[in-house]
């Protein structure tokens, strides 16, 4: 399960993939800069800052400035990666993200660190479960929630190549690499993790491996569950959702608020285009304090919890 202390050694903190990738990008392209709000340590950027001091712009604890500076650096020909705790990056500077980046159309990459409920015990001020709902209506921003370290690297590399604003969530809660052969990252496209026709789980981020484990549990009970990794929340892969709707039941799973994030996106699209039963798993509001493991279990975000929700929805209890 997803708790840092209890995680198997093969589980990875995706921040390591983020920082290795942005360092490699900076080596190759002098336009790459990072912008932080005193968040060098929490973004694991100490090595980057030592290697590229002139390209590490630390504005101090000032998120509105941080986003404006990102837009200005893009104006000046840079490719800025603005990296900060997702809760402050999005919430504190939302109007700057809207006006300076999305509406102005500046080529800024927003890297939301320690997203979701990774700061478990610190409480709801530090949880970032509303970020997807806040950013999704700004369709100029591509919103990506990678499932593991490999996908984090791919998303960061894609963001650097893509001309336009991108938000990438980076998990600090360790996750295993997905056991999917021959992977290739395509922004805006769902990845098939498990095939099945009785229902479809659409998950992203730290919950994809849990959904896969749930499908494996149910397989032994004769229930075939399709699992999709919907890393890109916006734009949504509508073809994959349409195909999922044909299985008769969709369960969305995410480390985010069930209102407005992946679950919201899938529910909106299916209600308008392909009505089907949609169950949304995630968080239904501010959470109390507790470890990541506790908060995941409380919300049913475990392999057994997801399997139980599927059994109940399919009448197979």
């Amino acid at each position: 399960m997803a708790q840092a202390a209890a995680a198997p050694q093969s589980y990875k903190d995706c921040r390591n993939a983020w920082v290795a990738t942005v360092e490699a990008l900076a080596e190759a392209d002098p336009r790459v800069v990072v912008v932080v709000n005193d968040s060098i340590g929490s973004s694991k950027l100490n090595g980057f800052a030592a290697k590229f001091p002139d390209r590490t712009v630390n504005v101090g604890i000032a998120e509105q400035l941080m986003i404006g500076v990102g837009a200005g650096l893009a104006n000046g020909g840079k490719i800025p990666f603005v990296s900060a705790a997702a809760c402050f990056l999005t919430g504190r500077a939302l109007e700057q993200i809207k006006a300076d980046i999305a509406y102005s159309g500046y080529n800024v990459k927003l890297i939301g660190q320690s997203s979701g409920i990774a700061y478990g015990e610190l409480g709801a001020t530090h949880h970032s479960i509303e970020d997807l709902a806040w950013l999704r209506p700004m369709q100029q921003i591509t919103v990506i929630v990678p499932a593991d370290a490999w996908e984090t690297e791919q998303a960061i590399r894609w963001a650097a190549d893509h001309e336009g604003p991108v938000f990438v969530r980076v998990s600090r809660t360790p996750v295993p690499d997905l056991d999917v052969p021959n992977r290739s990252f395509r922004a805006g496209k769902a990845e098939l993790v498990r095939e099945g026709g009785d229902a479809t789980v659409i998950a992203n981020g730290t919950t994809v491996h849990l959904a896969a484990a749930a499908a494996d549990l149910l397989k032994s009970e004769g229930i075939a569950i399709r699992v999709l990794n919907m890393a890109t929340v916006s734009p949504l892969d509508e073809d994959a959702v349409a195909a999922a709707a044909k299985t008769g039941l969709i369960v969305t799973v995410e480390e985010a608020n069930i209102c407005g994030g992946l679950g919201g996106a899938v529910a909106e699209w299916t209600a308008a285009n392909h009505p089907v039963r949609v169950e949304r798993m995630g968080f239904d509001g501010f959470r109390t304090t507790g470890s990541v493991e506790h908060l995941f279990e409380e919300a049913g975000l475990t392999a057994e919890g997801i399997a139980a929700r599927l059994r109940a929805a399919l009448g197979r209890t």
Binding site: V59, G60, V69
Partner: protein, 272 residues
């Protein structure tokens, strides 16, 4: 005439043209912010026709000087300046705030050449200009970045976040101009949340400060055209909201007041 007196004549002529055009646009649209247009006209005319280096045929040329209009509501003055500077034809001005016009109530860089940022919400321009100046500092580039803020706008905390970082980084190719007309939309700045002593505030954040009559073209040209010093520069331009039209001057109600036909005719008689 000398180059300097030629430049001053151009600034004077263009400032007059900008005021007349802007008020005509506001009269036709029955929308706009003419009080703030007129307090900023002489500053912006001095920048575009005496200070900034730009090429209207290549609006995003990397070496251009940047002008960021933080008081994005004052589009009458910005749009007439960009037009006169050669970014687009006069016919565009006639579409001001009309359906589908490129001339929004607030500027949009995605379809209006010469605009650097989509401002409107206040307190955004200086942070963006700070980022532009940091990019120039990283590259050792010699372009300059100017940003115009309102004075009431300085009540937004984001400006002071930027002031702190710009002072810390000694962004000496960055200049902020404060349009100090002492009125915000409803009443005086000093009655609302006072800004004075304003020069001392900027100095305390690590800026060099100059105060100038914001309607004196020669004085504006001297201070805005001066070579960069060691620190970022703040120019507090003391201005009159509604400058140039007797019944508008120093009247907060002309922040977004619009003229009827009689008022428009009187203003056109005065703006000569």
């Amino acid at each position: 005439m000398t180059d300097r007196s030629n430049t001053l004549a151009t600034i004077r002529d263009n400032a007059l043209w900008m005021r007349r055009q802007a008020f005509t646009m506001v009269h036709k649209a029955q929308l706009g912010h003419p009080g703030g247009d007129f307090s900023a006209t002489d500053i912006i005319a001095t920048l575009y026709f005496g200070v900034l280096r730009f090429d209207p045929t290549d609006p995003r040329k990397p070496t251009r000087d940047r002008f960021v209009m933080s008081k994005g509501h004052a589009t009458g003055v910005l749009y007439t300046a960009l037009c006169k500077a050669g970014y687009y034809p006069e016919s565009w001005l006639e579409t001001y705030m009309g359906p589908g016009s490129k001339l929004n109530g607030h500027p949009n860089r995605q379809y209006l050449p010469g605009v650097e940022a989509n401002t409107g919400p206040l307190g955004h321009g200086l942070p963006i200009a700070t980022g532009i100046a940091i990019a120039g500092q990283i590259d050792g580039a010699d372009f300059r970045t100017f940003v115009l803020t309102g004075d009431g706008e300085l009540q937004e905390g984001s400006n002071w976040e930027a002031a702190m970082t710009a002072g810390h980084r000694r962004l000496n190719r960055l200049t902020v101009i404060v349009d100090r007309n002492r009125l915000q939309q409803g009443q005086g700045t000093e009655e609302t949340s006072s800004l004075d002593p304003l020069p001392e505030k900027w100095r305390a954040f690590g800026w060099e400060v100059a105060e100038v009559d914001g309607h004196d073209h020669a004085a504006l040209l001297e201070v805005l055209g001066a070579e960069p010093g060691e620190k970022p520069r703040c120019v507090i331009a003391n201005t009159i909201k509604g400058k140039g039209v007797s019944f508008m001057e120093n009247q907060a109600k002309w922040h977004h007041g619009v003229p009827n036909d009689t008022q428009y005719a009187q203003a056109m008689e005065e703006l000569v």
